[in-house]
């Protein structure tokens, strides 16, 4: 009986070692059910910062202006040169690069400062670059409760740039991820057909950036 009782000493010592380890080691953060519900609802957090960019704009094949050129977008019969701006509180907070001669303009929310095929050389140290994530993000940064306006344009060199459409938006109307809006009827103020707006939480998942990047890496040999 005495010997059986004395076994509590080694068992106690093992438990002491295990207990001390669990106390001293940093514990991984656990997701609470409250946090999960918040994510599932997909509503934007008004205090958080979000990246917003337009990944696709499709326009009607006729321009909005009336300059006796049979409603063509460009004077030389080319398709429009699309670009967009995001305005916040009357100021432009983001302007995209233009996409030439297309009815569908696509943009990615990230630009790497080197060609993807050269990345391995960069990593090996043959080319030295400093990559700052904030500088390579091609998106507007706004708070979750902001009101923004997306302005879409057709860039013209000789004539004034045409407006393609204007969408005033409250971020509270959008969901995290991809938001698609459609405009079935070409009106006097709106020559756009569909627009795909991406909203990504700054501290949240970056998979929306990662997946297009990986797809491109697989295509480029």
């Amino acid at each position: 009986m005495k010997k059986i009782l004395s076994l509590s000493v080694p068992i106690g010592l093992i438990l002491c070692g295990a207990g001390a380890t669990s106390l001293l080691l940093p514990q991984p953060k656990e997701t609470t059910s409250e946090q999960l519900t918040e994510t599932d609802k997909n509503n934007l957090d008004k205090d958080a910062t979000y990246y917003i960019f337009v990944s696709e704009i499709e326009v009607f094949n006729k321009a909005l202006d009336d300059d006796n050129d049979e409603d063509d977008w460009d004077d030389d019969d080319d398709a429009p040169d699309l670009f967009y701006k995001i305005n916040y509180q009357g100021k432009t907070v983001f302007e995209s690069p233009k996409r030439d001669n297309t009815f569908i303009g696509n943009w990615r929310g990230i630009t790497l400062p080197v060609a993807l095929k050269d990345l391995s050389t960069v990593i090996k140290g043959d080319i030295n670059i400093n990559v700052d994530f904030e500088q390579i993000v091609n998106a507007a940064r706004v708070k979750g409760n902001s009101d923004i306006t997306i302005m879409m344009y057709d860039h013209d060199t000789l004539t004034p740039t045409d407006i393609v459409g204007k969408i005033p938006l409250s971020l509270s109307e959008l969901n995290e991820g991809t938001n698609i809006m459609t405009n079935n009827k070409r009106t006097e103020n709106n020559g756009w057909k569909t627009i795909e707006i991406k909203v990504i939480k700054r501290e949240g998942s970056v998979k929306d950036f990662l997946l297009p990047l990986l797809r491109e890496m697989n295509n480029e040999k």
Partner: protein, 175 residues
């Protein structure tokens, strides 16, 4: 006898630490088209590409929850049950020896268990080697918990060896 008890006490403490301390470290990597994109991914996506550690207990729990109950049970038996049982047997044998009683049956048991010494460390090492090559070039390394765990097994082995020596001496004196 003091040495044997000290070794057993240290073995107990290090075993407790070894079970909960990080034993395996996973290092996510991204290799596509013979190019290593890990470093750039680390800068771009630090959350997804961070290195993470697992203890023996976390590994067992994870395997149990992901329907690898057979392997989970095997590692649980060899990494937790077996070393604890071995230390308890050595402890009883040492107490017997203290009372100048020949440990006899207990020592036989310890000797039999001794044949399986280090098998627990071997199981973890095999596990690490087996899953070392993950898609995309991700890697798994042994962490400091593995060395603490191995040290605990080593201490119990030395304690067992000293105990057998003492018991043989006692048996010779008795005869």
């Amino acid at each position: 006898m003091k040495t044997i008890f000290t070794l057993l006490i240290l073995s107990c403490i290090t075993l407790g630490i070894g079970i909960l301390a990080p034993t395996m470290q996973t290092e996510p990597r991204l290799n596509i088209n013979n190019g290593d994109y890990t470093e750039i991914m680390n800068i771009l996506f630090p959350e997804e590409f961070k290195t993470s550690s697992f203890s023996i207990l976390q590994g067992i729990t994870h395997m149990w929850n992901t329907d690898s109950k057979g392997i989970a049970s095997l590692i649980f038996a060899f990494s937790i049950i077996f070393p604890v049982f071995k230390i308890l047997a050595l402890w009883i044998a040492s107490l017997n020896l203290c009372e100048s009683k020949c440990p006899g049956k207990t020592l036989n048991l310890v000797e039999k268990l001794g044949k399986f010494s280090m098998i627990d460390v071997f199981v973890i090492s095999v596990l690490i080697v087996t899953i070392k090559g993950l898609p995309g070039g991700s890697q798994i390394h042994g962490d400091w918990g593995l060395y603490v765990f191995a040290f605990s097994v080593l201490l119990s082995m030395i304690a067992g060896f000293l105990l057998t020596k003492k018991a043989t001496k006692l048996e010779t004196q008795t005869n």
